[in-house]
Symmetry: C2
Subunit: 294 residues, 2 copies
């Protein structure tokens, strides 16, 4: 990245806003532009101390940009991409995103941008929160987070390396997977826990709402993401339906296995089941602060 | 509690150790005694800066005690209780515990202590951690935690009030339930999330261990308690089997409901399902630091 890059961030939510804060901290001379659909959001950005420009004009946001980052819900990305595909980007402009699904979407976006001057490569920083919006944005959101980049056979080695370096510069640990591998793994490690948090919240409270007064840290943490935005997550699950279904069916089979153990109250099998889960979970470093929040 | 109370804590693990630290901070003049089964644990306590005495003798620990708190795994509580039931407690001694199940156990312990000078009333502070042992003990473990006390028809109003005041003095929000109500509610709000964390960890990683490299904060938090002690949790589930089974069956039914929605990819129903879960989860205050960790 040159010393005074033009960086356009499309979408001023938690991720777009955090990206603006993180980039501003690392590139004091950069021309950082945040596009928002609503004039009210532009006013909010203008009033924010992060010192980036804001506009409702996609063309103004991306003209001359060396980097464009799509940070909207995945469902609207193709429409927005089509509007900027032939914009007057800087020479060698790279476009990436922060979407939670890749697969068909990456191929679609790659195709859309293939007619113009920029090249698209998908990214998914595993950072987020059950909170949404610019007000929840944090400069350190990406620090220590895993980030998956999803090159395709069309991606050049140099472009792939540039996207990896972009996320590394924000503190991410970067992993490269095909869009399809991304969707399968993320269905299990992110979309599944999200849906299960909703299931457990309902199983615990739907018919027994006053049980909440007895809650401790286990319920608090294991269901935190159930407070996420239903609209956003409906879009994610729709886009990754086959892989999510496979993960949900594995959850169902594993839950049935446990139910049978508890029905028969086989202590040896229950201990083994819990010990097997613990051995997998213990592979995760316990220092929570080094992770993002999605 | 008088100004120089004798307090005996039976069991030097995370909860017993944290209790010793919290009581020491609030009662500088108290004679706090921590009983441990193993001489090595006694040596560890003696070397710990928390300044409490330690012994492997149950009799030495509880003689003259105004308060006795059982802080061992629930499975060994009746055996230990039988050994101290007729000890030379202080006049008006109250015995309580920190066990995760009540029901039959409370009635059993009440019966065991009915022959001696002390009276038993069950307690369950919803504080803990996936970590175990004295080394994980924290003075503030109980600060802001929910604590359930479980009086029975035999409990006097004065004793109930004394146990409530005991936990309130450590910073807990105290709730009084019958032992049976406790077990039903805690099966849903604590035992269920614990078991589901193990199920989700296995569904995510058992056949796809390398998915862990893609993890974010959602997986981290929603499966944290799957790192708990399998032995300890096997005992808890065994003691609360009927209520846990009912909760697991509700989880199964709710998971099946979601699976059908995702199979049919009914966006409206998925949004409603996620929104219903969010509405329940949002009732929990988001300030994580005011809660304990179990």
């Amino acid at each position: 990245m040159n010393r005074c890059p033009v960086i356009a961030i499309i979408g001023p939510g938690l991720l777009g806003g955090s990206l603006a804060l993180a980039l501003r901290a690392r590139h004091p001379n950069a021309d950082i532009r945040l596009w928002a659909r609503r004039p009210e959001a532009v006013a909010e950005i203008a009033a924010h101390p992060m010192a980036v420009s804001a506009t409702t004009s996609l063309s103004d946001a991306v003209t001359g940009a060396e980097w464009v980052i799509l940070a909207t819900p995945v469902g609207v990305m193709p429409t927005l991409a089509a509007q900027i595909a032939n914009a007057d980007f800087a020479h060698n402009c790279l476009i990436t995103d922060v979407g939670s699904v890749k697969g068909a979407l990456v191929h679609q976006l790659e195709q859309i941008f293939s007619t113009g001057r920029g090249r698209f490569i998908g990214s998914h920083p595993m950072a987020g929160s059950e909170k949404t919006g610019l007000s929840a944005a944090r400069e350190d959101l990406f620090q220590g987070a895993n980030c998956i980049v999803t090159p395709t056979p069309s991606t050049s080695a140099a472009d792939k390396q540039a996207v990896i370096a972009f996320w590394q510069s924000l503190g991410c640990r970067v992993l490269s997977l095909s869009p399809e591998e991304h969707d399968e793994k993320v269905a299990r490690i992110s979309h599944l826990p999200h849906l299960v948090a909703a299931v457990t919240t309902l199983a615990a409270l739907r018919h027994h709402p006053d049980s909440l007064a007895c809650s401790g840290g286990g319920f608090r943490d294991s269901t935190r993401v159930a407070s996420g935005d239903p609209e956003l997550w409906t879009g994610i699950i729709r886009e990754n339906q086959p892989a999510v279904l496979a993960a949900l069916r594995d959850e169902m089979d594993t839950l049935r296995e446990l139910l049978e153990i508890v029905e028969g109250m086989d202590e040896g099998k229950l201990r083994d089941f819990l010990a097997e889960a613990k051995s997998h979970r213990d592979r995760l470093p316990s220092g929570a602060s080094i992770y993002g929040n999605d």
